[in-house]
Each structure stands twice: as structure tokens, then as C-alpha cells.
């Protein structure tokens, strides 16, 4: 995404129309120009989000990476020292860490969705900032942070145990799928939170209760076939399996269906976007 990096030279953030080239002959602003503006808005929102969440004091937004890393690491270490093995002979530490970190992403994105609009309501006075921009910037921030934490972990595990990911691209793809899924869900929740407080109350509960079935702490091949077929209906299971395929490769059998996961993500995002469009009219500023 174009964050602060692209806007090296001070550019007008919003308000003034961009100079020539942005407007088509028909008077219709070019889509590219709109997209460019949206990217700059999102980049600016990212920076704002960063400083409002973590401030500039002490380590500041280093916490962004440290938080998931600490949680994932502790869980991994706990299981590492409790010492029971896993079927398939996979490394205990990397299994739990790689199960926990994508889940952390999911939880962080979904749990922060209900408060997204309320906490950024004042920004909506600016014409160019839309709710979608706010959601995208928040979720991207979360995704980037968790991906960073994951990279640190994978590197550290590789350095300690000597086992490097088989296909790093699949790790990233799995995380991207997870982010897409969580993003779609967060759009729906954010839209819903405009109408009722229920989402704020229930989201934490639901993310906590669904933890066992999301797929973070089991592998599909451990289950009997009937259960496998049921479990594979859950889209997040595919994300976790993809991440594990990237890490462990052919060491363990993995089951995932990327088209299915993509379909789920597309549907969720479609409904989320539509709901957000509806909710926008009903937001009380």
C-alpha cells in the first residue's frame, strides 16, 4: 500500500483537487486518480492509527509486533515444555506458534471491528474519508504487524531448530487469506455495530468460543474422514492448513481448498461492503 513512503514530497492529503490529469475530458474523475486518493487516505489513516494506538512514548509501535510475538511465543513455549508430542512428528513449538499467530490476526481484526466506527467517527467529517478506508487501514495495520511477528518467529525458529519453512510464499498466502476473511467479517460487524450494541458485547465471546473449531490447534489429518469433511466447511481451517503446508511441506498431509476459501472470502467481503454502504447512511455523526 502506498503509505508515507510514497508521499515523500508533501502532497495535499485531501481537500484540494489534484492538478491536471486527474480529470477525464467528460468531467468524470479518472478511476485511477480516485484510487490514488484512496490509497493516500488509507496511508494517512494507517499513520494516525499507529500513533493513536501506541503513542510516541517508549518503544511505541514496536508493541505492534511484540504483542502477538509475546503471546504466540508463550503459548509455544508452554507446549514445548509440557513435552507431549504431536502426530506426524512435527515440531511442537512451531506448530503452536503457527497455529496461534494466524488466530491472533483473526481475533485482533474481528474484536476491534465493533469499535472501529465509534472511535473514528470524528474523522468522517472529512468528505474523503470513508468507513471502508478506516476499516482497511486498521486491518492492514493489524495484518502487517502480525505478519511481521510471524516473520520474526519463523526466522528465530529456523535459526534455533534449523528447520526453515518449505514454501514461505504459502505462509504469506495463508496469512493473506486469513486477513481477507477477517476483513470481510469485520466489515459486517462494523456495519452491524452501527445499529446495535450487541456486536460489541458478543464478538469477544464468539471469537473465544469458536477458538477450538477455527482450526488453529488441530490438523485436519488427525481427524476421521467424516469429521474432516465437516471441518473443511470452515473457511479458516483452510488458511491454517495452507500456513502449515508452507511451513512443514510434505512432512505432514494437509488439506485445503483455496478456491473454496476465496469464495467464502469474496462472499463475506461482498456482504460486508454492501452492509457498510447501507450503514453509512445510518451513522449518526
Amino acid at each position: 500500500m502506498t503509505g508515507a513512503g510514497q508521499a515523500g514530497a508533501p502532497r495535499p492529503l485531501a481537500g484540494q483537487p489534484r492538478p491536471a490529469g486527474g480529470v477525464a475530458p467528460g468531467g468524470m474523475p479518472r478511476l485511477v486518480a480516485c484510487f490514488d486518493t484512496q490509497c493516500r487516505v488509507i496511508g494517512a489513516l494507517l499513520l494516525r492509527e499507529l500513533s493513536t494506538r501506541f503513542g510516541r512514548e517508549n518503544v511505541g509501535f514496536l508493541w505492534l509486533f511484540v504483542e502477538p510475538a509475546l503471546l504466540g511465543g508463550t503459548i509455544g513455549l508452554m507446549h514445548h515444555f509440557s513435552g507431549h508430542g504431536l502426530p506426524g512428528g512435527i515440531d511442537i513449538m512451531s506448530f503452536w506458534v503457527l497455529g496461534y499467530i494466524p488466530y491472533y490476526l483473526f481475533r485482533a481484526v474481528v474484536n476491534r471491528a465493533p469499535s472501529a466506527i465509534v472511535s473514528n467517527q470524528s474523522l468522517l467529517f472529512h468528505r474523503r474519508i470513508t468507513i471502508l478506508d478506516i476499516m482497511i487501514s486498521r486491518n492492514l495495520l493489524e495484518g502487517g504487524a502480525v505478519l511481521g511477528a510471524m516473520a520474526v518467529f519463523v526466522l528465530a525458529l529456523g535459526a534455533v531448530t534449523g528447520v526453515w519453512p518449505e514454501q514461505p510464499a504459502k505462509l504469506v498466502a495463508g496469512m493473506a487469506l486469513m486477513l481477507g476473511f477477517a476483513h470481510g467479517l469485520s466489515l459486517l460487524i462494523a456495519a452491524g455495530s452501527v445499529y446495535t450494541d450487541m456486536f460489541e458485547r458478543l464478538t469477544h465471546l464468539v471469537t473465544y468460543l469458536t477458538l477450538p473449531i477455527l482450526g488453529s490447534f488441530f490438523m485436519v489429518f488427525w481427524l476421521p474422514t467424516e469429521l474432516q469433511q465437516i471441518v473443511l466447511w470452515i473457511p479458516t481451517v483452510h488458511c491454517f492448513e495452507l500456513v502449515r503446508d508452507g511451513q512443514f511441506g510434505s512432512m505432514v498431509p494437509t488439506h485445503y481448498d483455496i478456491p473454496y476459501a476465496l469464495t467464502c472470502i469474496a462472499l463475506l467481503n461482498l456482504f460486508g461492503l454492501a452492509a457498510l454502504r447501507k450503514a453509512r447512511r445510518d451513522v449518526v455523526l
Binding site: 474523475p29 478511476l31 480516485c34 470513508t130 476421521p224 467481503n269 461482498l270 461492503l273 454492501a274
Partner: protein, 399 residues
């Protein structure tokens, strides 16, 4: 709303366009072809992006796509007895209802999707011809008339699916092709090939398990034969079947002689008491004692003279006998362990049991035209909706 008119030769189009009063454009230049097309496309975007592709896919699938018949077979891969179960978490998982798949079944599954099976099939069936039947449509059929092994394998994997059900242990083989008899033949051949694979594996298992035991038996046999021939050689050389026995016989002879001698002496002593020395009985007795004592002396001297030699002989003989007995025991135990190994190997043997024979389809299940068209329509609609919403979101950022 603008009304487009034909371009007039006299007027300057751009000026006219900009100066035209609102609501009436006046004679405006006909926009260039590309622009018009773009405008039209923008207005009819749903038609273009969703309806048109769906209609085209529907036309193809309903009108032109060739029928594909599927044939299904099911089989079990099973060992007579499973190996010792592992402890720890694995046992826990098994007891909790989680099952570990059978390696043999997975091996057969992997074999059925390997280049190996494709190569073997090509030797038996005209695989490329089957996938390029004249009735096949140009999209679904194998595109190359002389495909490389990899392309053929990719196509083969698309047409042949093997699924393994961990709970029941049943593998399902599904074959698609353009003729129902082709599908059936392919499925049958694949089953036969997997049976051959299982047999090969069994032979290999049996061979590996028995090889060590067989070698052991051969070694024991050789040892026994060597000890026997050493014994024979010994007997030939020493001219004695059994030195210990012949020594015993000699000793027994000596004992008998000594006994008879003692008895004869006693009779002689008894006779000397009440008869003269020249009676025939006395003479007979004396002669007998003399003969017996001579015989005994001879015998004793023979034993004593050959004493050293016969002890040596005896020692060697004992060694040979012990060697022979050991060789016999070894052979017996080696034979027993061979039997055991054979039984073990037979217990470890795997079987491929056909549960469902490949069927001949009467009705083409594929391509599932209605489902596919619906699926395409839904996917495109979702994609269109997403794109529309995203673009609308972008437009809100317009200056």
C-alpha cells in the same frame, strides 16, 4: 442528457461542445469509436461481465461440450494383522476415535496418481487415444496428440481421482472419459495394476523377511554336511565305525575273558583237590586256563599297546560327534525360524479386496452443465458486486 448529432462539416466541434447551452448540446462531434465502446460497456457492465460469459459458458456446455462418462470402483487395502500399536499420544489419539491411515492404502492411492501408473497404462491401453476420442470436445479433451509424460500425467490426474476414506479404509477410484466403456476399461486396468503393485510389494516383503532365515538355514546345512563328511573321512582313515564303541567292546571282551579265566581257574583249583593231575579233565582244565590267560594277556596287551592311539582316536571322535550334534541342532532351529519367518511374512501380507467393481455408465454425469453454469453465474455476480462496491467506494474520493 446529451443528444448526439451527426458531425457538421462547418462547425468546430470542441468549441461547440463547450459553448453549448445546458440541455442542448447542439451538433457535437461523434465520439471516437473506442470512447463510444467504453461508454457502452460502462452502461452495460453487468451484461458484459456477468450475463455474457454465463451465456457463452451455457451455450458451450449445453450445446457443444462432449459427454463424459464416469466409472467408479471401490477397494480395500488391508493387512492380515496390523503391526504393534505405538504408545503415547498416538495410542491416545487412536483410542479417542482418531484413526491413523493405513500406509499401504495410501501407497496404492499415490501409485494410482503417479507417472508410474500412467506409463504402465500406456503399455496396455491406448491412453492418448482414449483421451482424444473423436467425440471429445476440443476444450475437455487432451490437447496434444503426442503429449509429454508430464502433460499426460496432469491430464490423467484431472480425469482419474482416488480418494481414501480413513474411517472405513475404503479407497474410491473414479475415472472419467468420453466413452463409458473406456471409463470402465480404464478403471478395470487401474485396479489390475494396483493388484499387481500389491503383489509385488508382498513378494518383496516375503523375500526380505525370508532372506535372512534362508541364509541361516543354508549355513547350518553346510555345517552339518561338513561335520558328516569329516566323520566319514575319520571312519575311513581309522577303519573304525565308532572308536568308543570298539574300545567298549574290547574292554567287554577282556572282562568276559577275565571272568571265564577266573572261573576256569577256580574249577582247576577245585579239581586239583580230588583228582590226579593226569586225568583228562585236569588236562582239559589246565589247557583251558592256559588258553584263556594267554588270550587275556593278548587282549590286555592289545588294549594297552594301542591305548595311546585309541585315546587320541576317541578324543577326535568325540569332537566330531559333538560338532555333528551342534550342527544338527543349529539346522533344526534355523528351519524352525524359517518357518516362523514365513508365517510372519504371510501375516504381514497385504491384500487388495475389490469391494465395488467398475461400472459401465449409462448416463453421462459430466460435464454438470447446469451446476457449472450456475456456479459461473454466481461467481461472476459476486465478483461483479465486489468490483462495483469497491469502485463506488473509490469514486467517493473524487475531488
Amino acid at each position: 442528457m446529451t443528444i448526439w448529432t451527426r458531425r457538421s462539416r462547418l462547425t468546430e466541434p470542441t468549441e461547440q461542445a463547450t459553448l453549448a447551452p445546458v440541455g442542448w448540446s447542439g451538433p457535437v462531434a461523434r465520439p471516437p469509436m473506442l470512447g463510444r465502446l467504453r461508454r457502452w460497456a460502462r452502461r452495460r457492465s453487468f451484461l458484459l461481465a456477468v450475463i455474457l460469459p454465463t451465456i457463452m459458458a451455457g451455450l458451450w456446455l449445453f450445446g457443444f461440450a462432449a459427454n463424459q462418462y464416469d466409472s467408479e470402483a471401490r477397494f480395500l487395502v488391508r493387512a492380515r494383522q496390523t503391526g504393534p500399536s505405538a504408545g503415547g499420544l498416538e495410542a491416545m489419539i487412536q483410542s479417542a476415535g482418531f484413526t491413523k491411515g493405513s500406509e499401504d492404502a495410501m501407497g496404492v492411492r499415490d501409485y494410482l496418481q503417479s507417472h508410474d501408473v500412467v506409463a504402465a497404462l500406456r503399455g496396455r491401453l491406448p491412453l492418448v487415444d482414449i483421451f482424444r476420442r473423436p467425440e471429445a470436445d476440443p476444450i475437455a479433451r487432451l490437447w496434444w496428440s503426442d503429449p509429454s509424460a508430464e502433460r499426460l500425467l496432469d491430464y490423467f490426474r484431472r480425469m482419474v481421482k482416488v480418494q481414501y476414506d480413513q474411517t472405513s479404509g475404503i479407497s474410491t477410484l473414479t475415472v472419467k472419459s468420453f466413452r463409458s466403456e473406456d471409463s470402465q476399461a480404464l478403471a478395470g486396468e487401474l485396479l489390475a495394476l494396483s493388484e499387481e503393485l500389491v503383489n509385488r510389494l508382498n513378494a518383496r516383503l516375503l523375500e526380505d523377511g525370508l532372506r535372512v532365515a534362508r541364509e541361516e538355514v543354508a549355513r547350518a546345512e553346510a555345517r552339518l554336511a561338513a561335520s558328516q563328511s569329516a566323520m566319514t573321512e575319520f571312519r575311513d582313515r581309522e577303519r573304525s565305525l565308532d572308536p568308543s564303541r570298539s574300545a567298549a567292546v574290547a574292554l567287554e571282551n577282556l572282562g568276559k575273558l577275565e571272568g571265564s579265566l577266573t572261573q576256569a581257574r577256580a574249577e582247576l583249583a577245585e579239581a586239583t583237590r580230588f583228582s590226579r593231575a593226569d586225568t583228562p579233565r585236569m588236562l582239559q582244565l589246565r589247557n583251558r586256563v592256559e588258553a584263556l590267560s594267554q588270550q587275556a594277556t593278548e587282549e590286555r596287551s592289545r588294549i594297552t599297546v594301542s591305548g595311546h592311539a585309541s585315546t587320541q582316536q576317541l578324543g577326535e571322535y568325540e569332537r566330531l560327534a559333538v560338532e555333528r550334534d551342534l550342527a544338527r541342532t543349529q539346522l533344526a532351529s534355523a528351519t524352525a525360524s524359517l518357518e516362523r519367518a514365513r508365517a510372519d511374512a504371510q501375516r504381514q501380507q497385504i491384500f487388495l479386496l475389490r469391494v465395488v467393481e467398475p461400472n459401465r455408465a449409462e448416463w453421462a454425469r459430466y460435464p454438470k452443465a447446469t451446476e457449472t453454469v450456475l456456479y459461473i453465474f454466481l461467481c461472476l455476480s459476486v465478483g461483479y458486486g465486489l468490483a462495483w462496491l469497491l469502485i463506488a467506494g473509490m469514486r467517493e474520493h473524487a475531488a
